[in-house]
Amino acid sequence: MTDHDFSFETKLLHNQHKFDPATGGVSVPIQHASTFHQSDIDQFGKYDYSRSGNPTREALEDIIAELEEGTHGFAFSSGMAAISTAFLLLSAGDHIVISEDVYGGTFRMVTSVLNRFNIEHTFVDMTDLESVKAAVQPNTRAIYIETPSNPLLKVTDIQAVCDIAKKAGALSFVDNTFLTPALQKPLNLGADVVLHSATKFLSGHSDVVAGLAVVKDPELAARLGSLQNSFGAVLGVQDAWLVMRGLKTLSVRMEHSQKGAEKIAAYLKEQPLVKKVYYPGLADHPQHAIQKGQSLGAGAVLSFELESEEIFRSFVNTVELPVFAVSLGAVESILSYPAKMSHAAMPADEREKRGITNSLLRLSVGLENPDDLIKDFEAALVNIAKGEAIAAK
C-alpha cells in the first residue's frame, strides 16, 4: 500500500504499481509467462506457475484490495467465478441466508449447484432485519448481501446485517458490483468478503469479463487464496490489464453516470406511462436514508416499470440510444429486461413474487450526455401516448 493518504480518485492512478521497477514504464506490463524460472533449488521464488500467482494479475489484486480497503484481492475469470469460489469457503451441511432478489446467476448457483453439495439456503428480504434474524439457523455460515439489489434496487443496511452474521458466527459476503468502492466500502462496514463482477463498472467498457474478491482478515485470505488456486478460475493476464486500465477512469465514469441516473430517475418519475421508478437516490425510496448513510451515492443503475407489457414492448422497440442487452456498468447505456435476461434463471412465480414483472426495465446509465437519453425516452413515450390516443378513438 502507499504511505500517502491520497483521495480515492488519485489512488486509482497512483499505487504501488504505477511504475514498472525495471524500466520505469507507466503501464503495468502484461506477463504472459505461464511458468517462471527458478534459480534456487531449495527456495522457489515468489512466482512459479501463473495460476498460483502472476505479476500482472497480482497488480490488479493489490489495487482492488487497496481500493476496497482490504488486505488481499483475488481476480477471477468472471463475477460468477468469484462468487462460486467464495461459496466454496462453505462445507456440506452449512446454510446460507441470501437476498431474495439476488442476481439470477447467483440464484442459480445456490439453488441448483450448492444444494447438490448439501449446502442449504434461505431467501430473505434483507431490508427486513427481523426476517434476517429469523432466517439464521445454528448451521448458518454465510449471509449473502447484494445492495442495492438487482434489479429492484432495494438497499440493505450492511452494518446491521454484518452484525447479525457476526453474532451467528457466519461470514458476511457483500456483492458491491453496483456501487464499487468509489461509492461504498463494505469491508469498513463489517463485511468479511466483498465480491465484484468487474465486468461492470470497475472495468466499464463492455469488453472484459472478470470477477474480483477482497478480504481483510489474513486467515480468510489464506483460505480464499488456496481455493482460487485449487479451483483455478483465475483471470487471464490480458483481461487483468484491461480491468486495470478501466479502473483508471472509474471515478470520472461513476460521477458522470450517477449524475445522469439522478436526472433520468427524476424525469421518469414524472411520466404518466411509467408506473414506478426504483432508484435509491430518490428521496422517497424506502431505504433512501440507509443508502445515504452507508455510501457516497446511489450509483448509476435504476429500474422502472411501465404501465403495461404492451407499452413496455413498444418502448423497447422505439428507443434508439441505449443498447438493449444484458449486463450493466458500461460506457454505453444498457437497457435490460430482467424477466428474460438477468433473472431468467428464476422461475416465473418467484420472479413475480419479488416484483420483477414483465414490464420492468433496468437501465444502466452510461457516459452519454443524459439529455440525449432523456430526449430518446421522451420520443418513445410520446410516440406510445399518440398510439394510445388513436386506439382510444
Binding site: H4, F6, S7, F8, E9, T10, L13, H14, K18, F19, G24, V26, S27, H205, S206, D207, R245, K248, T249, S251, V252, R253, E255, H256, L321, V323, A325, A330, V331, E332, S333, I334, G366, L367, E368, N369, D371, D372
Partner: protein, 370 residues
C-alpha cells in the same frame, strides 16, 4: 446528431449485425477472402484497409468534421505520411515553437530530400505572409504550441492559405476536437499524436490524420497505404477504448489545470505560467535553473516523464526531453529556456496534485535556493 460525449461513449457500438456485439471486434486478419475475381468485400489486405482501424478512422473524421481519417503507427508517422504529398523544391512554413520530433524530422530528414522549411511565429499573420515564396506549398501549425502555449488564429491563417493556394495543416493534439475543430475553421488537414489525450492512458502509440476534400483524401489514402505506417488493429481498438472516456477526461483535465494555474501563478518559486485558457496543458518557469532538478526529483505523485495527455500527471523538462533536438540558441531564443517545465495535468484530485507541488517547492526552497 448527438452531443460529443454521447458519440464517444457509443463509439463502435452497432458496428456489426452478425453478433450484435456492443464492442467492436478486433480483426487481426491480415488478408480478406474474395468470392471471385473483382469481388472484394471492401477489404483485401490489412495495410490497405482493416475493419477495426476503419472504425477508428471514421470516428476521428466525424469528430473532426473532415471527410476521411487515417490511423498511423505514431504521431510522427502521421506527419511523415503527409510529407509524402510533397516533392523536392517545395517549401513549408512551420510554427517556430514546435515539438522537437517534428523539427528533427523536417531538419534531419526531409531537408535532405529537398523540402525547405521556414520557421516563423505563426501567431503573427504578417510574419507568415512575409515568409511565403513561390515554392511554399503548405503551412503547418501547432496551436496551442508546444511548450509555449501560443495560440494561432486558425481562421485567419486559413484565409491566407486559401489566398496563396497553400495547404493548411494543423496539429490538434493539445486541444482535441472537443475543444477545437480546425477543419471547420478552414484547415485542410488535422493531425494528432493520438498517444496523448485521444488514447489517454499512456499505453498506446498512435497518430491520426483527418483531411477534407476528395482529391486530398485520395492522395493521402494512396500514401497511407503506400508508405504503410498504419496502426495495428489492436492499438486501433485500444485507442477507441480510450476515446470513449475522452469527454470526461478532458473536462477533468481542464478543471484541474485551471486550479493549478491559479496555484502556480501565486507561488514565489514560479516566475511565469503559460496557459492558453483551455485544456490540460500548462507550462511554467521556475525561478532558478538550479532548482529544476531538485524540484523534479522531489515530486512523489506527479511523474517526471516525457509525453502528455494521459490520466496520470506528468511534468516534462522540454530542454532535455521533448525539445533536445532543437539547437540551444534556437530553443532559448524561442523561450524554451532551461527554467521551463511543461505540466500535463492528470485527472487526479487537484488537492493531491497541489500537495505534491507544495512539498516539492518547499524542498527546493530548503535545499536549492538558500
Amino acid at each position: 446528431m448527438y452531443k460529443p460525449e454521447t458519440y464517444l461513449a457509443q463509439l463502435g457500438n452497432r458496428s456489426e449485425t452478425a453478433t450484435g456485439t456492443v464492442n467492436p471486434p478486433v480483426y487481426f486478419s491480415t488478408a480478406f477472402r474474395h468470392e471471385g475475381i473483382g469481388q472484394s468485400t471492401g477489404f483485401d489486405y490489412t495495410r490497405t484497409g482493416n475493419p477495426t482501424r476503419q472504425l477508428l478512422e471514421r470516428s476521428i473524421a466525424d469528430l473532426e468534421k473532415g471527410d476521411q481519417g487515417y490511423a498511423c503507427s505514431s504521431g510522427m508517422a502521421a506527419i511523415s505520411t503527409i510529407l509524402a504529398l510533397f516533392k523536392s523544391g517545395d517549401a513549408w512554413i512551420v510554427s517556430e515553437d514546435l515539438y522537437g520530433g517534428t523539427y528533427r524530422l523536417l531538419e534531419q530528414g526531409f531537408k535532405k530530400w529537398g523540402l525547405q522549411c521556414d520557421y516563423v511565429n505563426t501567431c503573427c499573420l504578417e510574419d507568415i505572409e512575409k515568409a511565403i515564396t513561390p515554392h511554399t506549398k503548405a503551412i503547418f501549425i501547432e496551436t496551442p504550441t508546444n511548450p509555449l502555449m501560443q495560440q494561432t488564429d486558425i481562421s485567419a491563417v486559413a484565409a491566407l492559405a486559401k489566398r496563396y493556394n497553400l495547404l493548411l495543416i494543423v496539429d490538434n493534439t493539445f486541444y482535441t476536437p472537443l475543444i477545437q475543430q480546425p477543419i471547420l475553421l478552414g484547415a485542410d488537414i488535422v493531425i494528432h499524436s493520438a498517444t496523448k489525450y485521444l488514447g489517454g492512458h499512456n499505453d498506446v502509440l498512435a497518430g491520426l490524420i483527418v483531411a477534407s476534400g476528395a482529391e486530398l483524401c485520395d492522395a493521402l489514402a494512396f500514401h497511407h497505404n503506400g508508405t504503410g505506417a498504419v496502426l495495428s488493429p489492436f492499438d486501433s481498438w485500444l485507442l477507441m477504448r480510450g476515446m470513449k472516456t475522452l469527454a470526461l477526461r478532458m473536462e477533468r483535465h481542464e478543471k484541474n489545470a485551471k486550479i493549478l494555474v491559479d496555484y502556480l501563478s501565486e507561488h514565489d518559486c514560479v516566475t511565469d505560467v503559460l496557459y492558453p485558457g483551455r485544456g490540460g496543458m500548462i507550462s511554467f518557469r521556475i525561478i532558478d535553473e538550479a532548482a529544476v532538478n531538485p524540484f523534479l526529483q522531489s515530486l512523489s505523485l506527479i511523474s517526471f516523464a516525457e509525453s502528455l495527455g494521459g490520466v496520470e500527471s506528468f511534468i516534462t523538462y522540454p530542454a532535455t526531453q521533448t525539445h533536445a533536438d532543437i539547437p540551444l540558441e534556437v530553443r532559448t531564443a524561442n523561450g524554451v529556456c532551461n527554467r521551463l517545465l511543461r505540466f500535463s495535468v492528470g485527472i487526479e484530485d487537484s488537492d493531491d496534485l497541489i500537495g505534491d507541488l507544495q512539498q516539492a517547492f518547499a524542498h527546493v526552497k530548503r535545499e536549492a535556493l538558500r
